[in-house]
Amino acid sequence: MAALQLEKQRVRNAVLAIAAVVIVVGIPLWWKTTETYRAWLPYSEISELDSLQLQLSVDIEVVFSRGTLTPEQQKKVPLSHVNVKEHQIDAKTGLRYKYETRYRTATIMEEDALNQPTAAEADLSLHMLSENSCGSVVVYVIPESSALMPEDVKAYVGQRRTVLLRSPPFRSSWSLKEVLSNLDVEVEQVVSTMSFGHQDIVAALSNRVRMTKVTKESMADSMRAIKSSPGYEITFSLLNPDPKSHSLHWDIEGAVQSYIQPLLNKLAPIANFSVDSQILYYAVLGVNPRFDNSVSAYTLSADSLSHVINPVEARLGSNAASSNPVLNFLLYVPDAHHSPLYIRDHSKREVPSNAFHSPRWGGIMVYNVNEMYGPEAERPVDININMAKVMGVFLAQLRLMLGVQRTHPPTGFVLQSPGSAGLADWELDRLLWSRSVENIATASTTITSLAQLLDQIGNIVINDNVAQQVSSAVTSLQSAVAELEAGNLAFALHYSREAVLASERAFFDPSLLHLLYFPDDQKFAIYIPLFLPMCVPIVLSLLKTVSEAKQRLADKQAKSD
């Protein structure tokens, strides 16, 4: 009997030992050898980024010129004043605008500058005095009676970052507080013109936020503008469907140098641009223009314009040397038998520029040459294209594509024309604000969705390269948000661009795709011939041991009772 007991004990020990070996050695070994490599990702920081609280800080300097404040008011002018506005866009996105206004009186040099005969000259000489940092706004308050601007003009927005503001009518009895609060309304209008409006920022957040509260116009503006990218290729193509009758010459090199390059130089902080051109022969539009007897010309209606691009696009060719988005500008010279050709808008009127653009793609301009030669001219006719006319249209389209929105200034505001650079400093600032916000929104969405994906699918290998890209994207994003908060616009854009690049590189890394196709059920189907015969006896004998132990415990209890 004792021998039997002893034997039972030995069997029990053997079962326990085998189970222990399987659990302590076998399972970790199997786990270790079949595990996919997953580098560490900063999940907590990513989830912080998921709920984005953006703060945009604008530096405003308000300069009172002589005659706008009474002497005792001048003494009491506060040094600065901070005004904060908060908007909650949706559950996860909030915006805070911080307007930091500093007040001071004009220096003598500035007074001299303000005494120039015209506003444009005053703007220039003020610019010579001081250089303002990117994103800041300087408001010069000039007396109500100043002759610098015409009577009905309330504010004059210069080419740089300064604005001349006619001081609102004060009553002399007003305290300084009332004067300043009255001025604040005007300054706010100035800032929304020169830096950003709420609608623009919300439109820039369109990657994160469902668009519900945005006006149709800013929506259209943001849809038209090509997405933020580290570089753009701009291609000008001359389409000559009839080289037999027209021999076209265009001085594209000179035109790009004098019209396009200044704008691109100005935009250099936003992206790298490269410009090229080509001439395509026998390239035709996709639709047959209709002949209109009343004007004896061919016409393209606005409805058919959408069919024009696709057949042409096959000929344009993509840029072989880079993967940046391409902006196409096509100059189409209709063939001799289909000239002149006019584009008509929805209300059946001829479009004066004879051009149209397609959002995020580019523009097409029709250039009629039929009046440049008589019917008996010998073919092909040499035709020199008037590049000033063409580039005027393309430049306007390029501004639209790049997102330099046409601002709608409040009544009483006069905007100085941007001049030869094609872009005023404050217009660039507007672009920088919305691009920074857009980049931050894009990068944060990309990173959060990548983290979510990696979290959900455990089979994906995360190698060190991806992990490094993710963490550099996260750090860049954090710096971009911090710089925005501090009001350093140029740095904010720089970091946000880096964040977008790193997050896209991580998201589209080909190594993420490798092991996607081994779902768990198939893996276990392969393991079954090993697992089933091994585990069933162990589990059964463990169960038996446990129940025996219980039985013994119960017996003991009964005995002691």
Binding site: V11, S245, Q278, G317, A321, S322, I526, P537
Partner: protein, 568 residues
């Protein structure tokens, strides 16, 4: 009618020359038609764009294109390419029946590129370049990687300006399995200034071009001299398309053809952008040609003096009354074809799936002259060559190569490269053999349909062949394009490159469901072993009392019924 007269290219030509600032680029097109000895027709298109510009000059960025295709120009400047040659070929050129082609090419795709010597990361540029080119030409050039790229030391010298000798900047690769079809022709046609809308390119209809015995299209880009004095550089883009139509069998043995029969199109105009647009018809064997042209031209091509009828498409009278040109040619006599002086073929010998032997046979058909040839072989790493078994025999005597460049393969990293300079005795057959062993690949390395076999690219034989007639060495602009591709340096010889057949080699191919079977089998064996072991350890063994024999049990049963005590 009137339209046709107004738009005659002749007037076009005069107006172009009137232009004050001459364009810096020009375009030429040319078609050569040669009736072959076998009754087939050989048609060779050449389109040449010359651009007086230097892509590689610093600071001056080239970004404005007129006739030169933008996509190729961007590639040249981005990857600092000095010379680029790419060809796509369907079918095999039968040298012994058809003679030498104007521009030879191996079956499948071939790409060789000389990079500029400022490039630091040649392999990186090459990798990216092949990817971009595969996008431009819709071909599988992205399968070119280090395992099929070689750097030949002597066989591929630059054809354009400059005497680069450092083969570190040269990359050569072939894809013998590449299948060429319409999707490769369309992007190729898109590079032409006139597309397929006007000029000779209207004849390029894919349904006819690919219904042929041989089809080869190529792009060659190289720097050339702008003029005879060679004061400045120009870029030359040559697009060539060679096709051999098997009209002899399809027209019931009649030796006749017309443009319409071959291409199902006739010609109505030259490309208005072309400065010259010509058709050359080989009439050396006195065929019957309709319409006749007074213009005749003689050219010495590949060591043979030929006579051509020339049709100048830029002249209105070429098209005659009907405003359309349909050449018709009939020829009867079995003329003597000049036997190609150099010819090569290749095959794989041996049996079984373990070892084999590659035989390359080179023929020198010259009756009394010996000349040296360069043989280049690029063999994938999975055929492990035993280079000590390399033998070269001519006229059953050992022929020791005067130069051997051999770079052994590294598994999964680089192929074998074997280059040899062999002297071919006159009127002889030289056989080069080398043995190899077939490697076992990893199961993911097999191509789809591995039982079809693995292709090994053609070997390349390059030689300066002694010419029977004096070659034309002076370089003039109005030389026909087909005779000006390879510059002739001396009168007594001409350059020929011959490609052999690609090889198809079977490798030991496993059953691809094997991994699963192996896993299952292993698991089962382990489980059975484990099960017996477990049983041994956890069972208690007791002596079993033997049970009663059957008759006793039966007796017990009866006894129980009767109520009698049971038996023990």
């Amino acid at each position: 009618w009137s339209l046709c007269i107004i738009s005659t290219p002749l007037i076009h030509w005069t107006s172009r020359s009137k232009q004050s600032a001459p364009a810096r680029d020009q375009f030429q097109e040319e078609l050569v038609i040669r009736p072959l000895h076998s009754g087939d027709i050989y048609a060779s298109f050449q389109f040449r764009t010359l651009w007086d510009i230097d892509f590689l000059q610093e600071r001056q960025k080239v970004s404005h294109y007129r006739l030169f295709p933008k996509s190729l120009g961007q590639v040249l400047s981005k990857f600092s390419v000095r010379e680029l040659h790419i060809s796509f070929t369907q079918g095999f050129w039968r040298t012994m029946q058809w003679g030498q082609p104007f521009i030879p090419s191996p079956p499948g795709a071939e790409l060789w590129v000389w990079f500029h010597d400022t490039v630091s990361d040649v392999d990186g540029n090459w990798k990216e370049l092949t990817n971009v080119l595969s996008g431009i030409f819709c071909a599988s050039l992205n399968f070119i990687d280090l395992t099929n790229t070689v750097q030949p030391s002597a066989s591929f010298k630059p054809l354009g300006l400059g005497n680069a000798t450092d083969h570190r900047f040269l990359r050569y690769a072939t894809l013998p399995r590449e299948i060429v079809c319409t999707e490769n022709l369309t992007p190729w046609k898109k590079l032409l200034p006139c597309g397929s809308k006007a000029g000779l390119s209207v004849l390029l209809k894919s349904e006819k071009l690919f219904h042929s015995s041989f089809h080869s299209q190529a792009v060659h880009i190289r720097p050339v001299c702008q003029d005879e004095q060679c004061t400045s550089k120009a870029w030359e883009l040559r697009q060539t398309l060679n096709v051999v139509f098997d009209l002899y069998t399809s027209s019931q043995g009649k030796k006749e053809w017309s443009l319409f029969k071959m291409f199902s199109r006739t010609l109505t105009e030259a490309c208005p952008l072309a400065t010259s647009s010509k058709i050359y018809v080989d009439i050396t064997d006195n065929p019957e040609l309709n319409p006749v042209t007074p213009l005749l031209s003689q050219a010495v091509v590949l060591g043979d003096r030929r006579t051509y009828s020339v049709f100048d498409l830029t002249r209105a009278e070429t098209f005659g009354q009907l405003c359309s040109l349909n050449l018709l040619l009939r020829w009867k006599g079995d003329s003597d074809m000049l036997r190609p002086l150099l010819h090569a073929e290749r095959y794989v010998a041996g049996f079984g799936l373990q070892t084999g032997e590659i035989h390359t046979v080179i023929y020198n058909n010259h009756p009394y002259r010996a000349f040296p040839v360069l043989l280049m072989d690029s063999v994938p790493w999975y055929l492990q060559l035993y280079i000590h078994t390399l033998t070269v025999t001519s006229k059953s005597r050992d022929n020791k190569p005067s130069y051997i460049h051999y770079q052994p393969a590294k598994d999964r990293h680089r192929p074998h490269l074997l280059e040899m300079l062999i002297q071919l005795p006159p009127h002889s057959m030289t056989e080069v053999t080398v043995q190899f062993e077939r490697a076992l690949l990893k199961w993911t390395e097999y191509t789809p349909d591995p039982n079809h076999g693995f292709y090994v690219g053609s070997s390349v034989v390059s030689a300066l062949v002694p010419s029977m007639v004096a070659m034309n060495t002076n370089f003039t602009q109005d030389q026909p394009l087909f005779s000006s591709f390879v510059p002739v340096k001396e009168e007594s010889s001409y350059f020929v490159r011959v490609y052999t057949e690609p090889l198809l080699v079977n490798l030991p191919t496993p059953d691809f469901s094997m991994p699963y079977n192996v896993i299952c089998l292993t698991c089962t064996v382990v489980a059975v072993g484990y099960g017996s072991f477990y049983n041994l350890l956890t069972r208690t063994f007791q002596v079993d009392e033997p049970s009663l024999p059957l008759e006793k049990r039966l007796a017990n049963l009866i006894r129980r019924i009767r109520g009698v005590p049971l038996l023990a």
